[in-house]
C-alpha cells in the first residue's frame, strides 16, 4: 500500500514537473511574427498598354514589408517583350513625387505596340525572383460615333468585343484664378441596349449635366469655363473582365483581380480612340464618326 502510494506520488511529481515545464515553455515563447512570410507575391503591377500612343507607362511596386512606401529606387529590371516578333526592350524607371508626402515609381518604354500582338512584361529582383504578365492588344476598331437618341446624348461603339472605358474629358478654366484644369468622368457603367439590335454595337449614355454638376462642386465660389470637351473610348484585349462590376472587397483581395504571375495587380492591352464631343452629320443627314483628336491628357 505504502509502495503504491510512493509510486503514485512519484508519478504525480513527474506529471506536475512535465506540466510546469510545458507551461514555462509555452509562456516563454516570445516570438510574434505578425506577417506571413511572403513567398507568393514579389511585385505589384498596374496599367495598360495602348497601341494608339507612343509611350507606354506601367506602375510597378515591390510588395513591401512596411505599411508606408519608401522613396528608394526600386531594385528591379523590367523588360517588355513582343512574344510574336521576339522584340524586347528594357523599360525605364521614373520617379513621381506630386507632393512631399507622396512618392511612386512608374516604368515607361517607347517600344511600338501593335494591335493583335501579345507582350510579356517581366520585373526581376536582384535575387532572381520575378513577377510577369501577358498582355494581348485587341484589334483596331472603327471610330466611335457621337449621337443623340431620343434626347439622350450617347456614344456608339462598334466592332469591339470588350470596352474597357468610356470617358468624358473636360478642359476647363476657373474665372477667379484663371487656372486650367482637366477632369475626366467614366461612363463605362452607363451602357444601353442597342435599339437597332446590332450585336456588335455598344451604346453608352453620356450624362454631361451630371459631370458639370460634379465639376461645379469643386468651384463653389467661382464660375468656370469649359474650354474643350472630348470623348475617349478604350477597347480591351482578352484579359479583360468586367472590372467595373466588382466591389472593393474583391479588388483588394490579392487574387481577387490579378493577372500577374507571382505578383499582384492587373495589366491590360487596349486600343483607344479620342473624338470631339460633337455631332458630325453625313450627307444623308445621319450621325457619322468625327475625325480623331489628340487626347487633351
Amino acid at each position: 500500500m505504502n509502495r503504491h502510494l510512493i509510486i503514485s506520488n512519484n508519478r504525480l511529481a513527474l506529471l506536475s514537473a512535465l506540466i510546469i515545464t510545458l507551461l514555462v515553455a509555452i509562456s516563454c515563447d516570445e516570438s510574434f511574427e505578425p506577417r506571413e512570410e511572403n513567398t507568393e507575391y514579389f511585385f505589384s503591377m498596374y496599367g495598360y498598354l495602348d497601341a494608339t500612343v507612343d509611350t507606354q507607362w506601367i506602375r510597378l511596386v515591390p510588395v513591401r514589408e512596411e505599411f508606408d512606401p519608401k522613396p528608394d529606387q526600386i531594385e528591379a529590371v523590367v523588360t517588355i517583350r513582343n512574344i510574336d516578333s521576339g522584340e524586347e526592350a528594357q523599360m525605364n524607371d521614373s520617379l513621381f513625387n506630386p507632393n512631399p508626402l507622396v512618392v511612386y515609381w512608374n516604368y515607361w518604354t517607347t517600344m511600338d505596340i501593335e494591335p493583335e500582338e501579345t507582350y510579356e512584361i517581366t520585373a526581376v529582383r536582384p535575387d532572381g525572383q520575378s513577377s510577369s504578365t501577358i498582355v494581348t492588344i485587341p484589334p483596331d476598331f472603327p471610330t466611335p460615333i457621337y449621337a443623340v437618341l431620343n434626347g439622350d446624348e450617347i456614344i456608339v461603339v462598334r466592332g469591339v468585343d470588350n470596352v474597357a472605358d468610356v470617358q468624358a474629358i473636360y478642359w476647363i478654366r476657373d474665372s477667379f484664378f484663371n487656372r486650367e484644369y482637366i477632369f475626366t468622368f467614366s461612363h463605362i457603367s452607363d451602357s444601353l441596349q442597342s435599339p437597332f439590335g446590332f450585336e456588335d454595337e455598344l451604346l453608352f449614355r453620356l450624362n454631361g449635366n451630371r459631370d458639370l454638376e460634379l465639376i461645379a462642386r469643386k468651384f463653389p465660389d467661382t464660375e468656370f469655363l469649359v474650354l474643350q470637351r472630348q470623348l475617349f473610348v478604350a477597347s480591351a484585349g482578352p484579359q479583360w473582365i468586367n472590372l467595373y462590376e466588382l466591389d472593393e472587397d474583391i479588388y483588394t483581395l490579392a487574387d481577387g483581380v490579378s493577372n500577374i504571375n507571382d505578383g499582384v495587380g492587373f495589366m491590360l492591352g487596349t486600343i483607344t480612340k479620342t473624338i470631339p464631343w460633337a455631332a458630325c452629320i453625313s450627307e444623308e443627314g445621319s450621325f457619322k464618326a468625327c475625325e480623331l483628336e489628340k487626347r487633351i491628357r
Binding site: 509562456s27 505578425p34 506571413e36 505589384s44 511596386v61 513591401r64 467595373y244 472587397d249 479588388y251
Partner: protein, 719 residues
C-alpha cells in the same frame, strides 16, 4: 435566511432525528431560495437541526402525527467568533458543481487578487477555464465559444445587457455588494431562456436590518462607497453604493501609456422580509467611456439602467414557493470617430414572470410563465452596409416546465422544456432540455452528470468581430428572416471530492446555427455587411482544488475549439469555394488559471497566474498600392493608388501567448477610536511586466499592449 439581512442561505444542512430512535435520521440542504423539503416522516418527536458554516446552529423539537405537513422557517445568526476561520476554511467551491451550476461565493471572489479592496465578480470569472477575456480593457467575456451577447447576466432577476466595466478587472458587482452568483457555462435549465451560451445569475445582498453600516475604499483604479441600514421596523432594509473609476486621472502619474478609460456604477436596493414573504427592488445605473485603441480617434460609450423588483412567497403550510419578477432594463451605446457620424444603438426591455417551485414527495416541479417586451432603435449608417437606421419592438411570451425526478439514492433526471411565442416573427419555439446525474456513492462527492438542451435566441447583438477593440453592439432582431440563433448543448462531466482535494472534468459540444457575423473583408474600414455562420464549439475543462488549513489553491485548464462555417462571395473569389471554415477571433485553444491564497498570521497573501494561447487574427503578407479599374482605366502617371494590405487567408495567424501574474497581500486593522476596521492591500498587476498583446492592427502594422507592471495600494474603511 441570514438573520441580519434576510438573505436566503443556500446549502444549509437541515436534519431531523427521532429522539426515541436515533437511527431514524433524515436530512436535506436548502436550495437557492433557501427552500428545503423532507418527506415521508413517521409519527414521532424529532430534533430539528439547521446548520450553516459561519452561523450559529439552530436546534428545535418538532412532533409529527400521521399525515402532518409542517412548514418550518427560521433565520440563522452569524457566529462572529468563527468568521476569521470561515474565510480560510470555507469549503471549496470552484470545482464542484451542482446540476451544472457553479455557485460563486464571496470567499471565491476574495481569493482573486484585484486592484481594489475586496474582490470583483468579473475578475473571478476570468479565472474559470472556458471563460475568455480579450484583455485588460473592453469588458468583453466569451464563454465556451459564445460571444458576449450570447451570455445572459441577471441581477436579482433583471437582465443587464452590458454587464462589465471597460477596465477588465471591474464590474458593477464588487464583492461587498453581492450575496452570491450562479454560473452556468452551458447546459442550463429551462428556467433560463433567450440566450444560447451561458448564464450568470447574480443575487445582490440585502442591507442590514438592524444596524447602520458604511464602507469606503480607494485604490488607484477605483473608489467605492457603500452604506446600508434598517427601514424603521426590523423587516426592511436598504443598501446603496457608488463606484467611480480613477484610472484615467491616476494613470497619468504611474502607468505608461495613460489609460483613457472611465466608468461608474450606482446602485440602491430595498428589501422587505417576513417569514412568508421576501420582496426586494433595486435600481442600478452604469456608465462607461473610453478609447480601447489609445491611438485611434474612436471613443465608445455605454450605459445600463436597471429597475425592478422581485418577491418570493411561501404561504404557511403550503408546499408551493411562488416567485415573481417585474423589471425594466435598458442599454445604450455609441461610438464616435472623426471619419463618420455617431453610431448609436439602444435596447429597452420590460419583463415580468411568475414561477412556482413545488415538491411532491421527493419530486420537485419548477414551472412558470413570462412576458417579455423589447424595444430597439439604432442608427448605424456607415458601420454595416446592409443595416441603416431602424426602430421596432419585439414581444415574446412563453413558459417553462421542469421536473427533478430522483430514482433511488443514486440517479436523478431533470427533464424540462421552454416554450416561446414570438407572434408574427418566428415560428413557436420548443426547447427541450434534460440533465441526468449518477452518484455512485449516493452523495455529491462523486458525481457523473450529462445534459442535453436546445437553446434559441431571438435577439442578436451584432458587433464587429474583425476588430478586438470594437465593443460597440447593435441589438436587433436576427437580420435574416426566420433565422433565430440556435445552439444545441451536449455536456458530460465527472467530479470527485477526496478529503481536502477536489477535481472535476467536463467535456462539452455545442452545435451553432444562424450566428450573425460581419463578412470578412480586406478593406480597412468600419463598414461591412452581415452574413450567417453555422459552427461548433467543443472542448473540456479540468479543475483541481486543494484546501487545507491556511492554504487554498485551484488550478484550471480549459481546451476549446470554436469553428464557424460561413458562405461569403469573397471566399468564392479566393478559394474557388464560397463556403469556408475558420476559427473566429475569440477561439482560444488552451487556457490555464491558477489561484492561490495563504493566511500568514494577520496577512492574507493571494496570487493568480493565468495563461492563454494566442487568439486568431488575419496575417498580412505585404503592402502595396492598388489601382482600381472600376471607374475607368487608371492613368498611372496621375493616380497615386490606394494603400493596401495583402492579407493571408482569414484568421490563419495566432497572436502570441498571453500570461500574467498578479499578487497581493492584505491585512485588517481595527481602528478602535473610530469604531471601524481598516483593510490595507498592496499588490501588483503583471508582476513580471509581460508585454501582453491586446490587439494587432494589420492595416497599420501596429501593436497595442495590455497593462504593464502596475503596483497599487488600496484602502478600505468599514464601520
Amino acid at each position: 435566511m441570514d438573520y441580519s439581512t434576510s438573505q436566503t442561505l443556500e446549502g444549509a444542512n437541515v436534519t431531523i432525528q427521532d429522539i426515541n430512535n436515533p437511527n431514524r435520521f433524515k436530512g436535506n440542504a436548502t436550495d437557492k431560495n433557501g427552500f428545503y423539503q423532507i418527506g415521508t416522516i413517521r409519527p414521532g418527536t424529532y430534533e430539528l437541526k439547521v446548520s450553516f458554516l459561519g452561523f450559529i446552529t439552530h436546534i428545535d423539537t418538532l412532533t409529527f402525527s400521521l399525515g402532518d405537513t409542517k412548514t418550518f422557517s427560521l433565520d440563522l445568526k452569524q457566529d462572529e467568533s468563527e468568521l476569521g476561520v470561515v474565510v480560510v476554511e470555507q469549503p471549496a467551491g470552484a470545482v464542484l458543481r451542482e446540476e451544472g451550476r457553479q455557485r460563486v461565493s464571496l470567499v471565491d471572489l476574495s481569493r482573486v487578487p484585484t486592484p481594489v479592496a475586496g474582490g470583483d465578480l468579473v475578475s473571478y470569472l476570468q479565472t474559470l477555464p472556458g471563460v475568455v477575456s480579450l484583455g485588460s480593457r473592453g469588458g468583453q467575456i466569451f464563454i465556451r465559444g459564445g460571444s458576449p451577447s450570447e451570455n445572459m447576466v441577471l441581477v436579482d432577476g433583471i437582465l443587464i445587457y452590458k454587464p462589465f466595466h471597460i477596465v477588465g478587472f471591474f464590474s458593477p458587482f464588487p464583492q461587498d455588494l453581492i450575496a452570491n452568483a450562479d454560473f452556468y457555462a452551458g447546459g442550463f435549465s429551462s428556467y433560463y431562456s433567450g440566450r444560447i451560451s451561458s448564464v450568470l445569475d447574480i443575487n445582490m445582498r440585502n442591507g442590514n436590518k438592524f444596524d447602520y453600516k458604511a464602507s469606503a475604499s480607494i485604490s488607484p483604479f477605483v473608489a467605492d462607497f457603500i452604506a446600508e441600514g434598517p427601514f424603521g421596523t426590523e423587516t426592511a432594509s436598504w443598501i446603496i453604493s457608488m463606484r467611480k473609476s480613477l484610472i484615467q486621472t491616476t494613470s497619468k502619474a504611474f502607468i505608461e501609456p495613460e489609460q483613457p478609460l472611465k466608468f461608474e456604477s450606482n446602485y440602491a436596493k430595498v428589501s422587505f422580509n417576513t417569514n412568508d414573504v421576501q420582496c426586494s427592488s433595486l435600481v442600478m445605473h452604469t456608465y462607461d467611456r473610453g478609447k480601447l485603441d489609445f491611438e485611434k480617434d474612436e471613443t465608445i460609450r455605454w450605459g445600463n439602467i436597471l429597475v425592478g423588483g422581485q418577491c418570493q412567497v411561501l404561504p404557511e403550510d403550503s408546499r408551493i414557493l411562488l416567485e415573481t419578477n417585474v423589471n425594466f432594463s435598458q442599454m445604450w451605446n455609441n461610438s464616435r470617430n472623426e471619419d463618420q457620424k455617431d453610431s448609436f444603438s439602444r435596447v429597452s426591455r420590460f419583463y415580468m414572470d411568475i414561477n412556482m417551485t413545488q415538491y411532491r414527495d421527493e419530486i420537485r416541479f419548477v414551472y412558470g410563465a413570462f412576458l417579455n417586451t423589447r424595444y430597439m432603435n439604432y442608427d448605424i449608417r456607415g458601420r454595416f452596409q446592409n443595416l441603416d437606421t431602424e426602430r421596432y419592438g419585439l414581444f415574446t411570451m412563453g413558459g417553462h416546465f421542469e421536473v427533478s425526478l430522483p430514482i433511488g439514492e443514486k440517479i436523478s433526471f431533470k427533464p424540462g422544456i421552454v416554450f416561446t411565442l414570438l407572434p408574427g416573427i418566428y415560428d413557436p419555439s420548443y426547447e427541450p432540455r434534460i440533465r441526468a446525474t449518477y452518484q455512485p456513492l449516493g452523495n455529491k462527492n462523486q458525481e457523473l452528470s450529462a445534459s442535453y438542451g436546445i437553446y434559441r435566441q431571438p435577439l442578436v447583438g451584432i458587433s464587429d468581430m474583425r476588430d478586438a477593440s470594437s465593443v460597440f453592439v447593435i441589438w436587433m432582431r436576427a437580420p435574416f428572416d426566420g433565422a433565430m440563433m440556435e445552439s444545441t448543448h451536449y455536456l458530460l462531466s465527472w467530479q470527485q471530492a477526496i478529503g481536502n482535494f477536489n477535481w472535476s472534468v467536463e467535456g462539452y459540444y455545442k452545435d451553432l446555427k444562424n450566428i450573425s457575423i460581419p463578412t470578412w473583408t480586406t478593406v480597412a474600414r468600419v463598414s461591412t455587411e452581415l452574413t450567417l455562420a453555422n459552427g461548433e464549439t467543443y472542448g473540456a475543462d479540468l479543475r483541481f482544488e486543494y484546501s487545507k488549513g491556511r492554504f487554498y489553491g485551484v488550478v484550471g485548464y480549459g481546451y476549446s475549439i470554436t469553428t464557424y462555417e460561413s458562405a461569403q462571395d469573397n471566399f468564392g473569389f479566393w478559394f474557388d469555394e464560397p463556403v469556408q471554415s475558420f476559427n473566429p477571433p475569440h477561439d482560444r485553444r488552451h487556457q490555464v488559471n491558477t489561484t492561490g491564497s495563504y493566511q500568514w498570521g494577520d496577512y492574507l497573501i493571494g496570487a493568480r497566474w493565468q495563461l492563454g494561447t494566442g487568439l486568431p487574427f488575419t496575417q498580412p503578407i505585404g503592402f502595396d498600392e492598388v489601382l482600381f479599374f472600376d471607374n475607368g482605366l487608371p492613368d498611372v502617371r496621375e493616380t497615386v493608388g490606394t494603400r493596401r494590405v495583402i492579407l493571408d487567408k482569414p484568421y490563419k495567424g495566432r497572436l502570441p501567448v498571453y500570461h500574467r501574474l498578479d499578487a497581493s497581500i492584505e491585512r485588517d486593522y481595527e481602528l478602535q477610536n473610530f469604531g471601524a476596521d481598516l483593510n490595507v492591500k498592496i499588490g501588483v498587476i503583471n508582476s513580471y511586466d509581460r508585454a501582453n498583446l491586446f490587439f494587432y492592427d494589420v492595416f497599420t502594422n501596429r501593436r497595442s499592449d495590455q497593462l504593464p507592471f502596475v503596483p497599487y495600494i488600496a484602502f478600505k474603511v468599514q464601520t
